[in-house]
C-alpha cells in the first residue's frame, strides 16, 4: 500500500499552551490562559480524530543544527524538557516513541536529494520543547510514534531564499519517503507566524489582560498570510515568504512551514482554519490541510 500524508498542520509551540492545559506531565500549573489557541488545538484534535494515522512527523525550529538536517534515530526517549526561556512555565516529563524506520527513510531520501543529513543516535539526547509542545497539543495521549526533524540555520547563515530552497527539497523528500513507507502520516509545522515578542512578562504569566499582538504590522501580515493559506494560495505565499519572514520577524525563518507546504505539494485547496491567538506578543495560527 502506498503511504500518504493524511493531514498537514500548522502547529505552533509556545510552551504557554501546555502550561495552561495543566497536563500531569508538566510541573507548573496555571489558572487559565490563551484559550483561543488552546481551543483551536482542541478543534484540530477533533478533526484529526476523524482520520486514521500512524505517525506524527514534526519539524521544529528549536532543534537547531547548522550542519545539515538531523533526525531522531533512537526508539525511546524519556526525560524532562525544561524550556530555557520559560522554565517557570514548562518542565515537562516526556516518554515518547520514535518511528525510527520512517525517520531513517526520510533521512535517506533527503540525502539522495543532495541535502546534508545526519541521524541522531545518542540515547541521552534531550528532545526540544518545540517538538514536545506541538506533539502534545496535537496528540496529548502520546499514543502515536513521532519523527522529529531539526531545522538548519540557513536563513541566518545565508538568507531566507537559501533556507526555503533547502526546506522545499526536504519537504519533497519527506513526502516521497512517506509514500514509499506505506504509512499514514500527519505532518506538523511547529512554528508561530509573526514572532516579535514582549521582553517582559506579567507577574502572573496567564494574566490575559497583558496579552495582545506585539505590533499592528505583525497583525496585518499574519492576517494576510492566514487568508492566503485559507484560500489555497500557498504557492503565492511561498513567493512572499521571505518578505513575510523579514518584515514580521516571523518564525518561518526556521523553514518549518516551507517544508510543510512543499511536502503537501503546495495545496491549492482551502485549509481548515482552527484559530489564531497571540502568546507574549507573537502571532500563532492552528491550521490544517487535508490532501
Amino acid at each position: 500500500m502506498k503511504g500518504k500524508i493524511v493531514a498537514g498542520c500548522l502547529a505552533p509551540h509556545p510552551p504557554h499552551l501546555v502550561y495552561a492545559e495543566n497536563p500531569e506531565q508538566n510541573e507548573p500549573h496555571a489558572e487559565c490562559g490563551w484559550e483561543s489557541l488552546r481551543w483551536a488545538y482542541e478543534r484540530l484534535r477533533k478533526s484529526l480524530s476523524e482520520i486514521e494515522y500512524d505517525v506524527l512527523v514534526v519539524h521544529s525550529p528549536h532543534w537547531r543544527t547548522q550542519a545539515g538536517t538531523h533526525f531522531l534515530g533512537v526508539e525511546k526517549f524519556k526525560s524532562i524538557s525544561v524550556d530555557p526561556i520559560f522554565p517557570h512555565l514548562f518542565r515537562f516529563h516526556y516518554d515518547l516513541t520514535v518511528d525510527v524506520d520512517l525517520s531513517k527513510a526520510i533521512h535517506d531520501q533527503a540525502q539522495k536529494r543532495g541535502l546534508a543529513t545526519e541521524m541522531m543516535n545518542n540515547p541521552d539526547f534531550r528532545i526540544d520543547y518545540g517538538t514536545i509542545v506541538s506533539c502534545h497539543m496535537t496528540n496529548p495521549a502520546w499514543d502515536k510514534p513521532i519523527v522529529a526533524i531539526s531545522s538548519t540555520g540557513g536563513a541566518r547563515y545565508f538568507n531566507m531564499e537559501v533556507q526555503q530552497a533547502l526546506s522545499f527539497e526536504l519537504g519533497q523528500a519527506t513526502r516521497e519517503a512517506i509514500e514509499a513507507s506505506g504509512k499514514r502520516a500527519v505532518l506538523l509545522s511547529s512554528n508561530s507566524l509573526s514572532h516579535r515578542h514582549f521582553v517582559k512578562e506579567p507577574d502572573l504569566p496567564e494574566d490575559m489582560s497583558h496579552e495582545h499582538i506585539n505590533n499592528h504590522n505583525q497583525y496585518l501580515w499574519d492576517m494576510k498570510v492566514i487568508d492566503m493559506m485559507r484560500k489555497g494560495q500557498t504557492k503565492e505565499f511561498a513567493k512572499i515568504m521571505s518578505d513575510f519572514t523579514e518584515q514580521a520577524t516571523a518564525e518561518t525563518d526556521a523553514g518549518s512551514l516551507s517544508w510543510l507546504l512543499s511536502a503537501l505539494d503546495f495545496p491549492e485547496y482551502e485549509s481548515k482554519f482552527h484559530g489564531y491567538g497571540t502568546v507574549i506578543g507573537t502571532g500563532n495560527a492552528v491550521m490544517e490541510w487535508r490532501p
Partner: protein
C-alpha cells in the same frame, strides 16, 4: 558610578571557546588539541589565584526575557549538544553560588534591568558553560555563577549587567575570575567537514580574528570592546543583536586597556575561531592607543603618547587616574603612560 566602582575583586579574566569538540574529540585535530591543552594553563592559573567564584558570561546561553542568572546550588545532568550529539554525552555536576547569583539579579534590577534567577532541576545549561566547566572545574571545586547573554541587549544594557555583577561581588566581598565563553568568528561549517580538514570558515573571518587577538594580546580590552559592533558586522553570524561578551567583560574587569594580554592558543573549531585568551590586570597600559584616557574637565597637559620621560602628574589622567580605582592584585610597577 563607574568612577568609584572597585574592580579589585576581579583577579583575572579569560576568553574561552565552548564547542564540545575540545572536550570530547580534541585528539582528532592538532589545533583542537592545542586549544584543549591550553585549558590546562587556565586551570592552573585559576588554582593559583584561588578565587571564591568563577563568574561566567556565556554566549551559548541566549535569554530573551531580560537577563538570567543561575542560582542552583548544584546542577547535575548529562548534557548532549543539539548538533554535535555524535561526539558523546557530558555528565556534569556544577556547583553554584546562590547568594551571589541572587545578588547579581538584585543589583541588575537596582540598575534598571529586567533580570531573573534560574533554579530548576534539569534546566538546560548551555554547551559552552558545560564544556568550560568540565575542562577547568570538573571536580566542582569552585562555584560557578553563569549569566545569560540577552539576545536583544546592546552595549549600554550589557555594560550595566556587567556592573551589576561587580556590585554583587563587592557587596559580598568575594573574589572572582571572570570568564566569557565565546568563539571569535562564529560561522560554523554548514556541511560535515573532516576534522583533519578543519579551517576558519573564511579568510575574512580569519583576518578579523587576528585583528581582535592583536588587541587582546596587547591587553587592549576596552579597545576590543569598542570594536564589538564592527566585529559583529564582519565576523559573526547575525543571530543576536550584537557581539557583546567584551562589553560585559570590560564592564566587569574595568573599562580600560590596563591588562597584560596573552593569547594562549588559537585554532579553527568547525569553522569558528577558537581562542584561549588570558587578561591579567596590570598598570602597564598599551601606549598610544584609544580608550585609555579619562574625560578631563580641566587641562593639565597632554598625555605622553610620543615617548619621553614620565612627568608624573603631567598627563591628562594625572594623579589618581586609574579607571579601576587603584591597585589590584597582580599590578606591576609600571605606570600608566610611561614610554618604553
Amino acid at each position: 558610578m563607574s568612577q568609584t566602582t572597585s574592580h579589585k575583586n576581579l583577579l583575572k579574566a579569560f576568553v574561552l571557546p565552548g564547542l564540545p569538540h575540545l572536550l570530547l574529540a580534541a585528539d582528532k585535530n592538532p589545533g583542537w588539541k592545542k586549544v584543549r591543552n591550553s585549558f590546562d594553563q587556565v586551570k592552573a592559573s585559576i588554582d593559583e589565584l584561588n578565587p571564591d567564584v568563577l563568574l561566567v558570561y556565556s554566549t551559548y546561553w541566549p535569554s530573551i526575557l531580560g537577563h538570567q542568572v543561575q542560582t542552583r546550588e548544584m546542577s547535575e545532568w548529562t548534557h548532549v549538544d543539539d548538533q554535535f550529539h555524535a561526539l558523546g554525552s557530558i555528565p556534569y555536576k556544577i556547583k553554584g553560588d546562590k547568594k551571589l547569583g541572587e545578588s547579581i539579579v538584585k543589583n541588575a534590577k537596582a540598575r534598571g534591568l529586567y533580570a531573573k534567577t534560574v533554579d530548576y532541576n534539569g534546566f538546560p545549561i548551555d554547551t559552552g558553560s558545560v564544556v568550560v566547566h568540565e575542562l577547568i572545574n570538573k571536580d566542582a571545586r569552585r562555584p560557578m555563577v553563569i549569566v545569560s547573554s540577552n539576545v536583544y541587549s546592546d552595549r549600554a544594557e550589557t555594560v550595566v549587567f556587567g556592573k551589576a555583577a561587580v556590585d554583587a561581588l563587592n557587596e559580598q566581598g568575594k573574589t572572582a575570575v571572570a570568564i566569557v565563553v565565546t568563539s571569535l568568528s562564529n560561522r560554523l561549517h554548514t556541511r560535515v567537514v573532516d576534522p583533519k580538514e578543519d579551517h576558519i570558515h573564511s579568510l575574512k573571518d580569519q583576518e578579523w580574528n587576528e585583528k581582535f587577538m592583536e588587541f587582546l594580546g596587547e591587553g587592549r580590552l576596552e579597545d576590543a570592546s569598542q570594536l564589538s559592533r564592527q566585529f559583529h558586522k564582519e565576523a559573526r553570524v547575525h543571530k543576536v543583536a550584537n557581539f557583546k561578551p567584551f562589553w560585559w567583560l570590560s564592564a566587569v574587569m574595568g573599562a580600560n586597556n590596563l591588562y597584560a594580554g596573552e593569547i594562549l592558543s588559537y585554532a579553527p573549531v568547525c569553522g569558528t575561531g577558537a581562542a584561549v585568551i588570558r587578561l591579567t590586570p596590570s598598570n602597564k597600559a598599551a601606549r598610544d592607543l584609544e580608550f585609555d584616557e579619562n574625560d578631563p574637565e580641566k587641562y593639565s597637559g597632554e598625555r605622553n603618547v610620543l615617548g619621553g620621560e614620565d612627568k608624573d602628574s603631567n598627563f591628562e589622567g594625572g594623579e589618581g587616574f586609574h579607571p579601576s580605582s587603584g591597585m589590584r592584585a597582580g599590578d606591576s610597577d609600571d605606570t600608566f603612560g610611561r614610554a618604553p
